[in-house]
Subunit: 230 residues, 2 copies
């Protein structure tokens, strides 16, 4: 049986293909009928971690989006909470493009009450401020964590657990994970059990958001070109 | 093959079972591996259309949620943009409960720019104000439309098309349909082609939102009871 949907996944850190495939493999496990095709941008072994690396990534993300569109995917996920190159990719292809950040922030906006953000950068990625506004309670980086690799140590996990407990104690009604690296190591369920409130995994959010975009655009069937939102 | 997920669908208008099943049938067509089980509240042949009928519906929605949970569904959709009884149902069961209104409003919040709301009530349903805040451009009711039945007439459709064209001309970057009755008659694609901007179907939004909730809560596997957001 051919898959109902093929999702193209863009990773913004240069890695071996087995690692590049990690998010797509999770999505295939989670959603029946979905296949994925994953690519990573070249020459950024340290990924996107500041304004300069984000700027450098954007045209590479757009180029990969075109490559994935030509390979026949139905839609594209930029699997990074900073949404690098999402606007550029959207302008470069005719299929839907969603970012992890905008997907996670909008999923969190549904919860009735303050939302805590747990990430690895001192400021929440831009989509969280834009979409949550005053609903954003606080952005927290686990103590001692500077990259997703730090989350994989016992100290990093313990620190992340303390952070979500603190956000919950401050009155958060839900927690949004502002780094797809939490999904790579499958930490959300453990964090959710510790926090006692919903903890949103960015890879789950981006997958369901693209699914919604695919349902919508298939229904419309591009009878005429859509104006793209900015 | 047994379905990956069974979604319970609560309709808040008293109808024959063939009509009650309409939204669930759409969801089964759209999302591979999903089955649905649909029920409607009793004794409200005119559905939910004001504060009194919403209040009357809430305990019935909660009772149906318990009945569907006992029947073995994995999660529940209250398929009405006013989200009647969503909080009451959430308090009554241990499985996820999502409403059409909160699902559609949060999906619309992702778009970068003003959101127009097209519905059948003079005020947008509460989730749209709460989630979109200043991003809500305007709530419009098609001229001459007082119920979803009016949308099925040639005049009603023409009036809905004019409304979305007007919202688009006012600067909306996306339009949220604040009535699941638009899905029943499959109007979103036609509206989207007319408006030239994304038009979000509430039944598509509620289905993808519940799917995300099912992914999340299955992962957490209820190791301990979740505190429910209000």
């Amino acid at each position: 049986m051919s898959p109902a949907y093929t999702m193209g996944i863009i990773r913004v850190i240069t890695q071996e293909q087995a690692q590049v495939d990690a998010h797509g493999q999770l999505i295939e496990q989670w959603i029946p009928g979905v296949k994925t095709l994953s690519r990573c941008i070249p020459d950024q072994p340290e990924g996107v971690h500041d304004a300069g690396t984000k700027r450098a990534a954007a045209p590479k993300v757009a180029a990969l989006a075109q490559e994935l569109e030509q390979a026949g995917v139905d839609g594209i996920i930029v699997s990074c909470a900073d949404d690098p190159g999402v606007l550029e990719a959207r302008a470069a292809v005719r299929i839907p493009v969603v970012g992890a950040g905008e997907s996670t922030a909008s999923a969190a906006a549904r919860f009735n009450g303050p939302v805590g953000v747990l990430g690895i950068t001192p400021e929440a990625p831009p989509a969280f401020d834009r979409i949550l506004g005053p609903q954003l309670l606080a952005n927290v980086v686990p103590a001692g964590v500077k990259s997703t690799l730090d989350l994989q140590t016992p100290e990093g996990r313990a620190s992340a657990l303390k952070s979500v407990e603190s956000l919950s104690a401050q009155g958060a009604q839900a927690i949004a994970l502002a780094c797809t690296g939490f999904a790579t190591i499958g930490l959300a369920p453990e964090l959710e059990r510790a926090a006692g409130i919903p903890v949103l995994d960015a890879v789950q959010c981006e997958a369901c958001t693209l699914l919604l975009e695919l349902l919508r655009t298939r229904a419309t069937a591009f009878g005429e070109p859509l104006r793209r939102p900015e």
